[in-house]
Amino acid sequence: MEDLSYYKEKRSEDWRVELRKTKKAKERTLMERISMLEQDAVERSQNIEEVNLGLTEEMALVEAQRCLDCANPTCITGCPVGINIPGFIKKIEVKDFLGAAEVLKDTNTLPAVCGRVCPQEKQCENSCFYTVQLKKPPVAIGYLERFAADYERNSGKMAIPKVATNNGIKVAIIGSGPAGLAASADLVKFGYDVTVFEALHEIGGVLKYGIPEFRLPNEIVDVEIENLRKMGVKFRTNFIVGKTASFDDLRAQGYQAFFVGSGAGLPRFMNIPGENSIGIFSSNEYLTRVNLMKAADNNYDTPVSFGDTIAVIGGGNTAMDSVRTAKRLGAKRAVIIYRRSIEEMPARVEEVKHAQEEGIEFMNLHNPVEYIADQDGHVKQMRLQKMKLGEPDASGRRRPIPIDGSEFLMDVDAVVVSVGVSPNPLIPSSLKDLETTKWGTIVVNQDTMQSSVKDIFAGGDIVRGGATVILAMGDGRKAAAGIHDYLMEKVKKN
């Protein structure tokens, strides 16, 4: 964070100064971090309700007291969008929960979402004074963020952010995931005539098709979308820019700038024998069937594979989402197959912990090398190879090395491959002048998110290749500022 003066100014407001005096720092640091209320592990593994139940008001008030309101709030530097963290936590401490939500929404379009899915343990909470200096559990920033956002939503007094008068300048947002939603919110606030184009039939992108209900209820995303609508953002589903209409078509309709947040669409497979057998899915397919298409509900037409043993290949959040979904769909054995050890897993600690509590099996240091199908082409077995860890590789994690002669067969009814995604090629392939990397991501200016085509800006996974909701949102906001500068410059010239 280059400039903390804004935060410092807020910190020296009278009420903050007084509040700090109400309790000694020493006393604050002696308080224990609260624990999230959760659904019982056995019960929740049989339903799709949210696992985390949130904090009570009392819990939030107590936890907010732990925050020392540091003169140098290192937590903020750990947040990709620079949320005024002590600012909102102190509002909670004085019981101004709606005020806390307001502070969050200054910088974060979707606090109820981020409070649930952000890897706080790697970001703000990892830079918290408690973590860094006291070697104690950090302030539960994520839980408090969620608390404030949920409080506001349930209060019936959800503030609709003020928007500038419509300036009539049309801007197109491509993709309605976290990057696109964040960009649309800022642009509509600046006064632009914003339309979000979405390829699927529902708004929300990965928040809808990817992240399961038990981790992020759709209702929460829908409330945020409804608010954007109230702010004046228009949405068009079933519309693929570059296919349904070209960029030139939209330019002819008066769109003066574009933000591309089309995500990392293409699932990767391992290219091993038998991988195209029936019953082997990408995690994208498995989760889309269940989350977006509601395949597990008998009233819906889309089918999905059920089975006693479901193996999920990979160790990321998407792998955890898939394996925990499989358990909820009735798998007796829902198994993670991961080629490194649990220490190297990219998934959030909380997700791994929840999975373990729910009875997910972890076969770490294993890797599939072949799938064997029955006579109908349906996968029935997988050949697994045991691995050991070698020296750290480019990612800094210890490299998995196959152990010779360690192969064995395991019976499976279905397999979900969750080993990463590649950028969606639909947009880059429809624009010849657009500069892309060899991985297919769009090249942008890091400060403005502007691409090699002047009126096209981009952010989120289509630029990063695969990141988090909060980073995508940060990109969306940065791009909105970039688009604003670009268009104001253009208006001045004319």
């Binding site: 390829a199 699927l200 039939h201 098709y209 589903t237 079933n238 519309f239 693929i240 296919k243 349904t244 209409a245 070209s246 078509d249 669409g265 293409l266 699932p267 497979f269 290219n271 991988e275 195209n276 029936i278 019953g279 899915f281 990408s282 994208n284 397919e285 889309t288 069937r289 298409m293 009233n299 819906y300 037409d301 889309t302 089918p303 109908d376 082409g377 969606n424 090629p425 639909l426």
Partner: protein, 276 residues
């Protein structure tokens, strides 16, 4: 919402729907498909666009009733609306003047073949079209095809119309008679498999249009994957048209049956409900 403005039964199980979809009508080319979701509970299925009318802002789909979704579509009437239609998807057909083209269509596959035949004819090709079906009632779009073909050969399995025999017989008749520079085959997977084997025997460059199971249709899920030349390809974004001689049809046929059991059960349940 996408309103149906025309409906025509070609046969008991094959129906033509003309629906409002102005953007798609304007941007689609031969070979493109759409993904359709009939209603709130519906699944997403791919359907190749058979025709479009830019002025009316409509696209034409031809649907064969094989399960719940296709039955739901066939039960819709003029004035009804389809909840979701997105497209045009896939790569458009590569059209050029090859010389003589042999176009072979089987069953409802004749519908997606029609715009390709039209485009090939307009590009200056000599187009010979083989239309094949089990029986006379299932031969569709014959007049339209005749309009854009130099010659049309009709084949029926039971001999009730045209010549008796399989599509490959009609194809071989042409190949043995004159030089064919390019062939396009669209129909049921099994028909395309044997059609491809036929043209391979004569080394005729051949393309097929694959209709696999899809969910999103934009490259996101990989449900549609097929092996082409030993490499996994996604029909939705890499296709739907591929070099017929490189496609692993046996794998494709197998994958088309992925949900056979669920589909049959759901369809029986649906039919029972319709009766009740």
């Amino acid at each position: 919402m996408y309103k149906i403005i025309e409906k025509e039964f070609f046969s008991e199980k094959v129906v033509k729907l003309v629906l409002e979809a102005a953007d798609i009508a304007k941007s689609r080319k031969a070979g493109h498909f759409v993904i359709v979701r009939v209603d709130e509970k519906g699944e997403r299925i791919p359907l190749t666009i058979a025709d479009s009318d830019i002025e009316r802002g409509t696209i034409t789909l031809v649907i064969q009733v094989v399960g719940v979704t296709s039955a739901k579509l066939a039960n819709l009437n003029v004035g009804d609306e389809i909840l979701d239609v997105v497209g045009p998807l896939g790569k458009a057909t590569h059209i050029e003047n090859f010389g003589t083209v042999l176009a072979a269509g089987g069953g409802v596959g004749v519908a997606p073949l029609y715009p390709i035949v039209k485009a090939l004819k307009e590009a200056g090709n000599r187009v010979i079209t083989v239309l094949a079906a089990r029986t006379k009632d299932l031969i569709i779009l014959e007049d339209e095809m005749r309009k854009y073909s130099d010659e049309v050969i009709v084949m029926t399995d039971d001999g009730s119309y045209g010549k008796k025999g399989l599509v490959t017989m009609g194809m071989e008749e042409v190949i043995e008679r004159e030089k064919v520079d390019f062939s396009m085959i669209i129909g049921p997977a099994i028909m395309m498999k044997f059609g491809a084997l036929t043209t391979k025997k004569y080394n005729i460059p051949t393309e097929v249009s694959l209709n696999t199971i899809m969910v999103d249709g934009t490259g996101m899920c990989g449900a549609c994957r097929v092996s082409v030349g030993g490499k996994t390809q996604f029909v939705c974004v890499d296709g739907p048209e591929f070099d017929a001689h490189q496609v692993d049809f046996d794998e494709m046929l197998m994958r088309l049956n992925a949900y056979k059991k669920e589909e049959t059960e759901a369809y029986e349940k649906y039919l029972a409900l319709q009766q009740a």
